[in-house]
Symmetry: C2
Subunit: 405 residues, 2 copies
């Protein structure tokens, strides 16, 4: 485990600060002077458009998105990160040459243009829980599950930044009595706690797991809002569609893969060997502590789940390798949702579906109980990798439920 790197931005050195010099996540902010690319450090945002850099052309930041920078590739990512750590380090003497904006004065925007969005189903605990509810414990895991990271294509147009209100969707819901569907607001609207991997390079060839790993620019927290009643009616035979298309919320800072390397976690034991093209090649999960807070319209927030990204069965690199295996072209800005991250126990589950066991065992929260989300509820995902003397934070991923139109 590496140690805190000290910065001349004092807040970055404080214990528990989510944005020490070891992190340096990429975002887009607007302090009233227009949207620009920035990097979080302590309680400030470094405006990267206001400085000439040695390692990159400042024109890469002409558009308020990190896509052009990502497209430059891993060597540039590493060089720019080293330059940032250099100029922001304690004693660099560069205080007067950099523009820092107080974070509290800035509105955070989407840090990248989402090219395409794919969601996976890669937590064994989650797949087992959901499978048990729908098919019984004997048939919980589908036959393919231990052999490949099951995924489906989501809707990039629905990805929104933390803080965006989420309108409860309407959709077709099956009514057993009188045996027909109605169009109605979802009454089983849910969150899904996930980590999103941001693909930073393009490729139109099947990728090895190692090459895929090297193409991942960074990670965000991701909430894949899900209407369970719509999903149950629509998903056979072609998978989830409108139940997952209302919105997917991401946290505002792309945490660089490099910042997470000290927290790399071993892959799980394999009950069956993976095929060569998906085989583990080193620790590619991360020890990231995750929480979900649920705050009703009035009343305090309750933390309803605590889990960890190291519980996953497949890494983002394995997902990306599988995604490319048929020759599917991958592009800069593709977003891969990890799938719901659930741990071994009920209180470690990453969705209301599991926490309330299909709505049958409502969850107690401060001021009431919940089977699924109610109007006015605010759901916040939190994540941090905890080192000995510093943490790598993500910034919250929040969304509040508005009533259906």
């Amino acid at each position: 485990m590496s140690n805190l790197l000290r910065s001349w931005v004092q807040a970055a050195n404080e214990r528990g600060c989510p944005f020490p010099l070891n992190n340096l996540p990429y975002g887009v902010f607007d302090d009233g002077s227009g949207a620009r690319c920035g990097v979080a450090i302590g309680d400030r945002i470094l405006d990267v458009t206001a400085t000439r850099w040695k390692s990159v052309a400042v024109q890469l930041f002409d558009h308020p998105s990190w896509n052009a920078f990502m497209a430059e590739g891993p060597d540039v990512w590493a060089a720019f990160r080293a330059e940032l750590q250099d100029v922001l380090s304690e004693g660099s003497g560069r205080e007067d040459q950099l523009v820092l904006v107080p974070m509290e004065r800035a509105r955070l925007l989407m840090p990248f243009a989402v090219c395409e969005y794919t969601d996976f189903y890669a937590s064994r605990h989650h797949a087992t829980n959901v499978g048990t509810m729908f098919r019984g414990a004997e048939n919980a895991l589908p036959p393919n599950w231990l052999h490949m990271p099951i995924g489906y294509n989501g809707r990039a147009s629905s990805v929104v930044i933390s803080g965006t209100d989420i309108r409860r969707p309407r959709g077709q819901i099956w009514q057993p009595d009188p045996g027909r569907p109605v169009l109605a607001p979802s009454s089983r609207f849910d969150f899904e706690l996930e980590l999103g991997a941001v693909v930073g390079q393009s490729s139109s060839r099947p990728l090895s797991v190692q090459d895929a790993h090297d193409m991942i620019f960074g990670y965000v927290l991701l909430n894949d809002w899900s209407a369970r009643d719509l999903q149950a009616w629509e998903y056979q035979p072609l998978g989830p569609f409108q139940s997952k298309a209302t919105a997917t919320t991401v946290s505002p800072w792309i945490v660089p893969s490099a910042a997470l390397q000290p927290f790399a976690a071993e892959m799980p034991e394999r009950e069956v060997d993976l095929l060569d093209h998906l085989r583990d090649c080193g620790p590619m999960l991360y020890d990231i502590e995750l929480e979900v807070g649920l705050k009703p319209g009035s009343g305090p927030e309750t933390i309803v789940t605590r889990t960890n990204y190291r519980h996953m069965y497949y890494s983002a690199a394995q997902q990306l390798a599988h995604h490319s295996s048929s020759g599917c072209p991958m592009r800069v800005g593709d977003l891969l949702g990890s799938g719901t991250i659930s741990g071994p126990k009920r209180q470690n589950c990453g969705s209301m579906l599991e926490l309330s066991w299909g709505g049958k065992e409502p969850l107690s929260i401060a001021g009431g109980a919940r089977s699924f989300l109610e109007d006015g509820d605010c759901v916040s995902l939190y994540g941090q990798a905890v080192g000995e003397d510093y943490v790598i934070g993500f910034g919250a991923c929040k969304g509040r439920i508005l009533p259906a139109d």
Copy 2:
């Protein structure tokens, strides 16, 4: 049925010409002087970047794609189409002011940037055939099928223009003996005959069927290449993924919705009423004759299927209305595949899966037999709407199979 509009481009007036003045489809071409937007007329392409227009700013064509034009909306589509028909009409006296390129000298490129790609499953014959093969005749149609146009998100990055060679994919295929998957080239690689609807407007609200209809800019032929062996193993529980991600080929000309209006066809009888938001509001299918040609590496082409788009159960407008029903934002350049278009008889089926009944009854073609596609096979989709004295053609949608790497 309207009559042929005569043009001073003589070839456009010839019987059977796919591109009369009534059509005027939108494409992108390169005759060696760079990629540009163009409109097909007879045996020529009108270079729209070389003329000042009354109805549109020529800057809309700065990029070789029709997306910026589409974003202007239906009133501009109609005004520009009227202006084109005016200047290209017999006796307009505008011959000297327009730049026409011989079609044979031009390479055709993607006519628009695909924003996101969605594929549907909306032919009752196709769904019944596939359902019968997989679940038996009693359970052929899934319970939701008569109530909504089932769809899934595809992969926009995989959409290619007609003429692009298609590399046979590898993927995970289940081997019953010894009971494990292998990574191998697909041996059940297939085409799917579809029509693609190009969404020409953005919206982030649930759409009515009529509003959705008005947002559809035009149509292309679409071949959704499908690896049936990969699909069978991967598709439970979240739908097709890598089996459909190798490539989707589209024809090079976007045929305007306006050109197809004279061929509007009635919606089918409804066994169960559709919910209000999906209800039919006038004829929104089209009488488009469709064929698929299969040409082995050596030997002549055999037409293996003949069908018609009027056989569909759901229109593109109903698909788009359903797609937006949960609040899913739709954007300019979204592409909606109709789903495989099969007619009532075996020889009207839009996939090898159906034509060879799951590979059990190989199809005779000139020079051999086929269960699925073989390396070197060239698959061509053809489409035309046939009026009394003119046709609206699409231009072929072709792809040749290369062996797996």
